[in-house]
């Protein structure tokens, strides 16, 4: 996709919106670009007990990538965030790993988006 860097920045923006809406005080994002694609690592805390929202977030992030929908949908991610847009992050990425430490109230997400 020609807008690859925009897509990656929207993914980060979407997740930042999401975690701030969950009361995050410390959100960190790291993006590495290689010949294979972009790796996006997110680390964030959140406020209170948010188990069900995080389970739903994980489910949505695990949605399979949909190249045929990207041109139609990518510009919506990182826009008005209602929480459901995490689905867009799911269909824009190839692999995902979510590590949730409930006791510490922290989440680490690793996403990978391959070049076409």
């Amino acid at each position: 996709m020609r807008h690859e860097r925009f897509v990656v920045s929207r993914i980060v923006s979407e997740l930042m919106n999401f975690f701030f809406s969950m009361g995050a005080g410390d959100f960190r994002a790291r993006v590495s670009r290689s010949d294979e694609g972009h790796e996006i690592v997110i680390e964030s805390d959140y406020a209170g007990s948010q188990g069900s929202r995080l389970r739903e977030m994980t489910r949505l992030l695990r949605m399979p990538r949909a190249r045929e929908m990207e041109q139609y949908s990518w510009s919506l991610s990182g826009d008005i965030s209602t929480g459901q847009e995490i689905y867009l992050v799911g269909i824009l990425t190839d692999t995902v790993s979510v590590d949730h430490d409930e006791q510490a109230g922290r989440v680490r997400i690793t996403l990978f988006r391959k070049w076409d």
């Binding site: 695990r62 990207e70 041109q71 139609y72 919506l76 826009d79 209602t82 689905y87």
Partner: protein
């Protein structure tokens, strides 16, 4: 807790083959029903009349070519567009069902076996020019066929030499398709995904541009309404049975899981891209399509509306987008907003454009889903006025006139609602 890896398509309750069979069966059923409504030669001559008719809004193919030809036209296009998805090895998701049902619906009043291909080819040319796979633009191509009447009008609506007419029609269709992909992505951010018919908004803008150029050169098309009546006795029970069948099939396929999935689905606001097949699986989506379709059928029946080509198009589009955003919960406020409009405004709910404004106005369903009933009511109320005033801009060449109007309503309403409801510190 640790989770990794993407959810595989093999985990779905209904596999790819089942979903493809559903779309093919739908197209085949439309064809078979059409074949029962007229003789074979009658259908062929009806199809010919449909092909050579300038198709701008509102051109009811049940009047132009007869009921048999209209159903066969819709069924064949459904099968052909599904075949394209299969050929490109696209996974069938909610957006696929929405796109195919929208093509099927509008093939009752504007899309035909000739005019759609120029738009699709234009999008394909864009993909080639950018050295990108056509697959990425496939849904823009499908929804972009909203501009198909541009082709028909130039080919058959003016008295030029045949070669020139064909050249002008083909050029307009190809060029419109060529410019749609970048615009469709750009215009999404105008209404923030709260207008489900996004390509309708884009096509309205493109149609306005083309018609402005045409008018500057002296080409003027008179507005018209070709609207058949007298089919309610047949089409009302047919539509009711079809949507009941969808709901029943969904319940059967999903087994005990369907009620829970449906409850979750109905809580979704429906904002783009709410792909219900991905999010809640195919059976719950089928039930939602059936029940939302039944709400639309009940509305049309209660107001004393007509079941004909354009309203059938509306019903199928409502059902199709119930795989991607619409639910009974979020369309009812919009419908009620249109009804409220009939109390204070100088038109009747049974006026043809208003029947369509109500059915297609549900493009704004996500506003009700996200911001509540009052916002949905307001959206329907305002939409029913806006839609009557924007068609003149594109002279009916954009079949998704309600998508065009809906985009404007959402672009204005959503930021206002957001501004007044935000209370968080962020």
């Amino acid at each position: 807790m640790k989770a990794s890896g993407k959810i595989g398509f093999e985990k779905a309750l209904v596999g790819e083959a089942g979903k493809k069979a559903f779309l093919f069966s739908f197209g085949t059923a439309l064809c078979l029903f059409g074949l029962t409504r007229d003789s074979f030669p009658g259908i062929l001559s009806g199809l010919w009349r449909i092909l050579v008719e300038p198709d701008y809004l509102i051109s009811d193919y049940m009047d132009v070519g007869g009921m048999g030809a209209a159903f066969v036209n819709s069924g064949l296009l459904t099968v052909l567009f599904t075949s394209i998805l299969v050929f490109l090895r696209v996974h069938i998701r909610g957006i696929s069902i929405a796109a195919v049902f929208t093509v099927a619906g509008f093939s009752f009043f504007g899309k035909n076996l000739l005019n759609v291909w120029f738009i699709v080819a234009g999008v394909w040319l864009y993909a080639r020019s950018r050295k990108e796979p056509f697959l990425k633009f496939i849904y823009i191509a499908f929804f972009g066929t909203a501009l198909a009447p541009l082709v028909s009008q130039l080919m058959f609506g003016f008295h030029f030499p045949p070669f020139l007419r064909f050249f002008l029609g083909a050029s307009a269709g190809l060029s419109a398709g060529f410019i749609l992909p970048p615009l469709a992505a750009a215009f999404l951010s105008v209404h923030h995904g709260f207008n489900l018919y996004n390509v309708g908004f884009t096509a309205g803008m493109v149609g306005t541009l083309y018609v402005s150029v045409f008018r500057s050169h002296g080409f003027i098309t008179a507005s018209r309404v070709i609207w058949s009546t007298g089919h309610n006795g047949l089409l009302f029970p047919l539509c009711t049975a079809f949507f009941l069948l969808l709901a029943a099939a969904g319940f059967l396929l999903g087994g005990g899981k369907t009620p829970d999935s449906l409850r979750s689905l109905w809580k979704h606001p429906g904002r783009l891209i709410a792909d219900f097949v991905d999010l809640y699986d195919f059976p719950a989506t089928l039930v939602n399509m059936g029940l939302t379709g039944l709400v639309a059928v009940a509305y049309l029946r209660l107001i004393g509306g007509d079941f004909n080509g354009p309203t059938l198009g509306g019903l199928l589009t409502v059902a199709g987008f119930s795989a991607m955003g619409k639910t009974p919960r979020n369309i009812i406020p919009v419908l009620l907003g249109v009804v409220l409009g009939s109390v204070t405004k100088n038109w009747s709910l049974t006026d043809p454009p208003i029947q369509l404004a109500a059915l297609f106005g549900t493009t704004l369903a996500p506003i009700a889903g996200e911001f509540g009933w009052i916002a949905g009511l307001l959206a329907g109320y305002i939409h029913s006025s806006v839609v009557l005033n924007v068609g003149v801009l594109h002279a009916g060449f954009n079949l998704y006139n309600n998508g065009f109007a809906g985009g404007m309503v959402a672009a204005i309403l959503v930021p206002l609602i957001e501004a007044f409801r935000r209370r968080d510190k962020g």
